[in-house]
Structure formats: C-alpha cells, structure tokens
C-alpha cells in the first residue's frame, strides 16, 4: 500500500461499486490499482470487522495463470511446495525463493485442473515466473486485472456466505471451490488469517458477485472495508505482509533485509528439489532475527526498537485498534532479545513508548 499519487493508476473491476460506497473519497494505491483507503470511517470499519462482517476489494492482487502439461512440475520447482499433490480445487499457501535461497515471494497456488494452476500474490513479480518457465511445457499468462477478488471478514462471515448461497465445500479450510453461482463462476478460498474468505471471479462478474453479497449481508450489518482498516486488522492479527514487514529478495537493500523461509515460519522439505534449495541448505538458521508481535497503550511508530538504549530491532508496521483500545505492531528483533512479556522501547509520535512483546509470530 502506498499513498495515492497523481500518476496513472488502474481501476479494479469493482471500481464502480467501491466508488459509490467510498463516502470519504479517500483512496490509496495498491500494486498500481486504486482502492478505497477509508469508505466511511476507520473506526466504523474496524468495528464491522470485529463485531459483524466487512467486504473489501482485493482485486489488486497479482494473478498469474500457469497452464500446460508441465504446470504442476514447474510450480513445484518454482515454489517450496510440491503442488503436484494438490487435487483440482485445492489450494496451497506457499512461498518461493531466489537462487540464493532467500524468499522472493509468497502467495497462494490454486489448482483448477490437472494442467491448470493459478498463482495469487501481493508481490508484483510476473517476469520472474514467466522467464523461469523456459524449458517447461507451460504457458504463463498475467491475469492481473482480469479477476475481481472480494474479501469477506468478520465473525459473521459464515452467516454471510450462507445467506448469499455460498455454502459449498469451498468454505472449508484449504479448499478452493468453483461455485456455479449463476450467472457468475466464483472460486472461494480461505484468506491468510484463516478466518475470512476470498471470492475470485471474472472481471465482468465482479459487480454481480459484490451486489449479491452486499444484498445478502444487509441484514447482517455488512460494511465496506477499506485498505486502512484491513491493514490495522492485519497488524492486530500478527500477519506479516510482503513489502512491509519483510522485503522480497529482489527488493532487499542489504543482506539484513533478506529473509529465509524459516524466518517466515516455513520449514521447507530440503530433500525436495526446488529453486534455491541448494543454497538454502547451506544457510545458518540459528541466530536469525525473529518477527514479534508487540502491543502498547499508545500508538507505536515504525523505526528502531531499543532495550536499555541498545538497538535490538526494528518495528515494520503498526496500528491502533479502536476495538481493543491498544496499539499493535510487528517488528524484527534479535533472537536474544525475544522474551515474551518483556518491555522494549519503540518510537512514538512524540518521544518513545514502552511496548510489550506479546509473542514471536512464528514460534
């Protein structure tokens, strides 16, 4: 997410609806697409996510189609997951490494059919997957912008799905069902938190699906939720975000920015062959920085974290939770400094704030 700028941005397939609902006219840019930052008020949207159900436009996600006889083999080489084991309709949340074994991207791989997969990710890096396909019998297409994606989040998510007729096995964990939800074809999957749903459909069907959900959710108090409320919920829920809490290897400014799969809580099968595995085997895992979840009574700023005036890490993202009346943050700390319950000093709007380490995110 970045501040809205004057340079040309793309409209998502849901723009007509999100524009109608965006009373604040406060927009932001995500991966080149314009999406609402706040629809009504941050407080109301956070409240909807915590107490009822919220709908959001996730169509800025990258979407890469990989089709052909070698599609499964190629994606199993690209990513750390053997996706040839997926059944049609199943999804795998995975990540992929560069040649040196550092994490280059993360996302979800969906298997539609024997020779048809789709990679969905927030990291723009299509050339990597397209160039890497050379030598494999696959066709790689950038479908970004040709899909509408709707996020549904909140305690009434299941109720909204039921009310709108989306009660197939797609709402089960790890499944991506293709619901014949006339007139639209919709694919469902769990979101990164595991609590919400993502609905993916063709760009032309996006408005139809949005409207149907919106109508079904009227009695449940559904609210449109913008990027800022989603971001706050993400930090509150301790979900790391690529490009914010960790940098994909190709964007790293130095070796300290580079992340191994283990840093992100993933332990790949090193006996399997995938891109970067040789280098990964040689990396030291011990003593690596640890991503921690922190909380405080007042807003936490992004920047250095100290303990007794010694810098021990960096806050990478933070939020203020209206619902819980507390600040939350994510940050990387030196392994020795991570002890749940202890206080660290972080930057605040003016001066510093004492933040408590809640837990290591990937413990």
């Amino acid at each position: 997410m970045s501040d809205f700028s004057s340079r040309a941005s793309l409209a998502t397939p849901l723009h007509a609806r999100t524009a109608e609902l965006c009373a604040t006219n406060h927009w932001t840019e995500e991966e080149g697409f314009t999406v609402p930052a706040v629809y009504s008020s941050l407080r109301e949207e956070q409240e909807a996510l915590v107490t009822r159900v919220g709908m959001s436009d996730l169509s800025a996600r990258q979407c890469w189609l990989v089709e052909g006889p070698d599609a499964g083999i190629y994606l199993s080489w690209l990513s750390i997951t053997d996706v040839t084991r997926l059944e049609a309709g199943q999804t795998a949340r995975t990540l992929w490494c560069d040649d040196a074994g550092f994490v280059r991207g993360e996302g979800v791989i969906v298997r539609f059919a024997a020779a048809s997969f789709e990679v969905r990710t927030a990291v723009r890096d299509f050339a990597w997957i397209a160039d890497g396909a050379r030598g494999f019998d696959v066709k790689v297409t950038n479908g970004t912008g040709t899909r509408a994606a709707i996020g549904v989040r909140g305690p009434l998510t299941a109720a909204l799905a039921a009310a709108s007729g989306l009660t197939g096995d797609g709402t089960g964990g790890g499944q991506s069902a293709r619901a014949a939800w006339r007139p639209a074809q919709v694919a469902l999957m769990r979101d990164a938190s595991g609590d919400g749903l993502e609905l993916w459909t063709g760009a032309d069907d996006g408005i139809v699906v949005w409207d149907r959900l919106w109508k079904a959710g009227a009695g449940l108090g559904v609210a449109a939720v913008g990027a800022e409320a989603l971001e706050a919920l993400r930090v509150e829920s301790a979900i790391a975000r690529a490009g914010v809490d960790w940098l994909p290897a190709q964007l790293a400014r130095g070796s300290s920015d580079l992340r191994l799969p283990g840093d992100l809580g993933v332990g790949p099968d090193l006996t399997r062959r995938f891109n970067g595995v040789t280098a990964l085997t040689g990396h030291q895992q011990a003593g690596r920085p640890v991503l921690v979840h922190l909380s405080a009574d007042e807003p936490i700023g992004v920047g250095a974290v100290t303990v007794r005036n010694a810098t021990v890490g960096t806050i990478t993202s933070s939020c203020w939770s209206e619902g819980r009346g507390a600040a939350f943050a994510l940050g990387w700390l030196e392994a020795d400094a991570v002890k749940p319950g202890i206080k660290v000093t972080a930057l605040a709007k003016s001066g510093t704030v004492q933040a408590e380490i809640v837990r290591a995110v990937f413990s």
């Binding site: 070698d70 083999i73 190629y74 080489w77 690209l78 560069d98 040649d99 990597w128 160039d131 890497g132 050379r134 030598g135 494999f136 062959r273 891109n275 970067g276 040789t278």
Partner: protein
C-alpha cells in the same frame, strides 16, 4: 565415478576442437570417453570445405592458435598427421597505396616498418608494446585459468584475484589501460591511421563493440595474454583447418576416445536432478555419470532439458548472454595469385588486415548498429594456397573474415543481400589488388545466420558469444556458470561460450577437463 554398467564415464557433446581436446585429455586421464557429433564429420567451425572443384579452403576458422605449447605437447598432433604449412604467421596492416606495415612481433623490425610512416610512431612502438605486454602479463593467469566464482569476485574483485602484478595486486596503470577503449589508447600513442586501424581491428575482431567502446583495450591485452605460452603463434595446417580437426580426431581415438558421428543429441538424461547421459535423435539412450558439452551454453542448458534444473535467476542471466554474430566469412577461388600493391608475393602468406584506420572501423560499426553493413567493410584475409599447395592445384584460394556484419538485416533478406555484401568485399579488395575481382572463379559468403547452422552455435557468433568485460571471466556465460560447471551435477561446459571465449586455443577444453577431474575427486 565409474559404473560397471556404463560403457562410458564421460560423454562429450560435439566433435569440434574444444570437444575433441577435452575428450582427449579426459581419456589420457584414463576415463572412458565417448564423443557424440551431430554431423557426419567432426570439426564444428574448423573444417575444410570444397569451394568449387579443385579448390578447398577452411570453411569458417582459417587460422589456428595461438595454441598453448604444453597443450600441443600433450596432444602430440604431429604424430597424428598434423603438418603445418605456415607458423608464427605475421600480421600486415595493408594500405591501399602500397605502404604496408608488417607487425611481426619483433620490436626492431616493426619500428623500422613504422618509421616509413612516422618517426614518432617508430619511437612510440616500444612503449606501447611494453604497456600491452605488462597488461597481458598481469591478466595472463586470469585469461588462461579457470575463472573465479561470484564469491571470489566479491572478495577479490572482477578478476577474482587472478589478475595480479608481482606485488600481488593489479597495477594501477594496467587497471587504467584495460578499462580504456583501444581507440583512446592508440590515439594517445600513435599518429599513423593505418597502424591504429590494424591494432584496433585486432582488438575488437569478432566483438559487437566499436573501437571507442570502453574496455576494448582489455581485448587487445587478452589476445596478447593468450599468445604468452605459444611457440608457434598463429599456424595454418597443411590441408586447412579441417586437417587440424582430423589430427585431433586421430589423437582422441588414439587416446581411446570413441567418436560417434551422425549422433545428434535430442536431450539430456537426468536421474534425480543429476545428469545421467544423453538421448540421441534416434532414440538411443547413452548413459554416463558425466556429460561435457562443447555446444554453446544456451543450446546445452536451455534446449536439452537442463533448464528445468537451473536456478531461475541463472536462467534469466543465461538468456541475456549476447550471442548474435557480427562477422561474415567469404571464401574465394581465384584463377591465379593476384598482385597486391607494394607487397612482395612471398609476404602474401601472412595475415593481411584491410582496415585503413579507426574511422573506417567506426563507420563499419555504425552501419552494423543500423542493421546493415558498410559498403567499405573491414576484413582480415589469408591466401593459404600461397604456402599450402594441397588446397588448390596451380590456382589459389582466399579466405576473408569480414567484420561488422549483422545476423539480421534491418530491411531485406540475406538471400538477396549476400550478393551486395560480396560486391562490397570485391570493391575493397580491388583497392588493394586491382585485378583480384576479375580472377574470382567462385565465391562463398557465410553470414552469421549460416555460421549458426554450420557451426551449430546459437547466434552464429565467431567467439561463441560477444567478447566484452561483462561477458568474460566469472560472467561468461553467466554468473554461476563460469567455472565450466553447471548447477546440474555431472554436467559441464567446454565450448567457446565459456571463458576465455573463442579462437582456436583449446584453453576452454583444457580448463574444463581439469574441472571435470577435480569434481570427480570432490564427489
């Protein structure tokens, strides 16, 4: 590493010079080696062809060397029928007015030849030669040896610690020299355009770089460094380049190498990510724990199934390896020996550079950049029939490397443009030998597209890939592939696409063989 069930320990793909030398060295180290060659004859870019009945000529490469003396000794090619019709071939910078300059490696002779044009240049020659020699000495280990890897570059610089003076570091003066353009260096030293043209031509020959491009002085130093351990310099085998291959083939077979002709590789075989042999177009599977390819790296790694096993960034880098050729080969059958203005016919056995100055090189490059060729192209010619009577009974053949000829034309097709190129070449030759064009009995023109097919190398590049600092050493053909090894265990490279590039030197093959043997020890 031997397996009793395997007929070969090593399969070498391609029976060109590098393939055969590598196979021979490995066989001499008691490995069971099989060479598979797609064509009916060995040789790759090093063959003698019949131009027209009674006239034979080296099809592509027309001079051999400089070959390392130690390597030549171990190959014992003279025992296998190699006879040289000329050796230590000199270079003559040809002038249309007949005031040629002979550059024979002897400081005094060259200074005398230069004095005719410029006393100042005659005096400067020894200084320039000293600078070049010093640069060559300091990069010799880097040029001749196995390049370092990326880690060594990070630790010890671009040359991986292999370019050093006696004090252990690259001399600042040498560093400045190899970073400069050859035109810049020559302009500072000399005033005679003909001399500067010939020296600049030699530096950039075969590279898609103009003489004013930064780093081209390095190429001049590289040539000198390759020359360091030779006793015979450039040589011409009796019978043309194919005679050299023929001797190599016999030497290989003498060492126990099995050479299988008409055996085109369809793809490599793999076993759990490790190379396990090759499958031929016929469907025949040949198994070996080690495969060494003398083909170009792009074909080997991107077209034979290995790309499935390559790290993604490396595959990208290899895609970016520039391999488009920029040199054409023209072969002429002549009714007699033409007279060149101002030169004794006995000197026509030397290597003749037809380039009047750096400006002519620049004009030729400018045309090349526009997807065309100059109407006044620069070239290197030899007339091997002056010392090798087996090529043309009583008549003569001329072989020319015509420089800055694009693989693809910006407009039109090569089918029609070849006649135009031949006409331009004839026009240049007429400036030096007025009667020559009228003596032409037959002509072959091979542009990079033809060379691609004839030598079986993607892009048809004379050196197997452009020569420039970003494509040499640890970056040739790509970072991570520079040490003749690949990420696929058991798969190695030994062709001109590896360091230190093309030219018939055998360095690539020698280094690759040593790496293969060292890898076996590690395993």
């Amino acid at each position: 590493m031997r397996s009793a069930s395997q007929a070969s320990d090593v399969i070498v793909i391609g029976a060109g010079v590098n393939g055969l030398i590598c196979a021979t060295l490995l066989a001499q180290a008691r490995r069971r080696v099989t060479v598979v060659e797609a064509e009916a004859h060995a040789g790759g870019a090093c063959k003698t062809i019949e131009l027209v009945a009674g006239h034979r000529v080296s099809g592509l490469a027309h001079l051999i060397g400089p070959l390392d003396a130690q390597l030549m000794k171990s190959l014992r090619l003279h025992r296998f029928g190699l006879t040289l019709s000329a050796k230590n071939i000199s270079t003559i910078a040809m002038s249309p007015d007949g005031r040629h300059i002979t550059l024979d490696g002897d400081l005094r002779h060259t200074a005398q030849a230069l004095a005719v044009h410029s006393q100042a240049d005659a005096k400067a020659w020894s200084h320039y030669d000293g600078r070049l020699r010093k640069a060559a000495q300091q990069i010799e280990r880097w040029v001749q040896g196995v390049p370092g890897g990326a880690a060594e570059q990070a630790k010890a610089g671009l040359f991986g610690g292999r370019a050093t003076s006696k004090n252990g570091a690259l001399d600042a003066e040498v560093a400045s020299f190899i970073d400069a353009s050859i035109a810049e260096v020559l302009d500072a030293e000399f005033e005679t355009p003909l001399l500067k043209g010939a020296l600049a031509f030699d530096a950039v020959l075969g590279s898609a770089l103009p003489p004013r491009a930064r780093g081209t002085a390095l190429l001049a130093a590289m040539r000198r460094a390759i020359n360091a351990d030779t006793t015979e310099g450039y040589v011409h085998p009796q019978g043309g380049a194919g005679a050299f291959t023929s001797a190599l083939l016999k030497a290989a077979e003498g060492a126990g190498v099995r050479v299988k002709l008409n055996a085109r590789v369809r793809h490599l075989l793999f076993d759990n990510g490790r190379v396990a042999g090759v499958e031929l177009q016929t469907g025949e599977a040949m198994h070996a724990a080690t495969v060494v390819s003398s083909l170009d790296p792009k074909t080997t790694l991107l077209q034979f199934g290995a790309s499935r096993h390559l790290p993604l960034a490396m595959k990208r880098r290899l895609n970016g390896f520039r391999v488009e050729g920029c040199t054409a080969k023209v072969n002429l059958a002549l009714a007699g020996l033409p007279s060149f203005k101002g030169i004794d016919k006995r000197l026509l056995k030397e290597r003749l550079i037809l380039c009047t100055g750096i400006d002519q090189l620049e004009r030729s490059f400018a045309a090349y950049e526009q997807g065309s060729f100059s109407p006044d192209p620069v070239m290197e010619i030899t007339i091997p029939s002056t010392h090798d009577t087996t090529l043309s009974a009583g008549q003569h053949v001329l072989s020319a490397h015509v420089f800055y000829v694009p693989k693809n034309l910006a407009s039109g097709s090569w089918d029609k443009a070849k006649a135009n190129l031949m006409s331009c070449v004839g026009g240049v030759l007429r400036q030096y030998a007025p009667e020559l064009p009228d003596m032409i009995l037959a002509a072959d023109v091979f542009v990079p597209r033809d060379i691609e097919a004839m030598a079986g190398t993607v892009g048809g590049h004379w050196h197997g890939g452009d020569l420039s600092l970003d494509q040499l050493g640890l970056m040739r053909p790509a970072v991570g592939l520079s040490r003749y090894e690949t990420p696929v265990p058991g798969l190695f490279l030994c062709g001109a696409g590896t360091h230190p590039a093309g030219g018939i030197t055998g360095i690539n093959a020698r280094n690759a063989a040593s790496v293969v043997l060292a890898a076996e020890v590690r395993a």
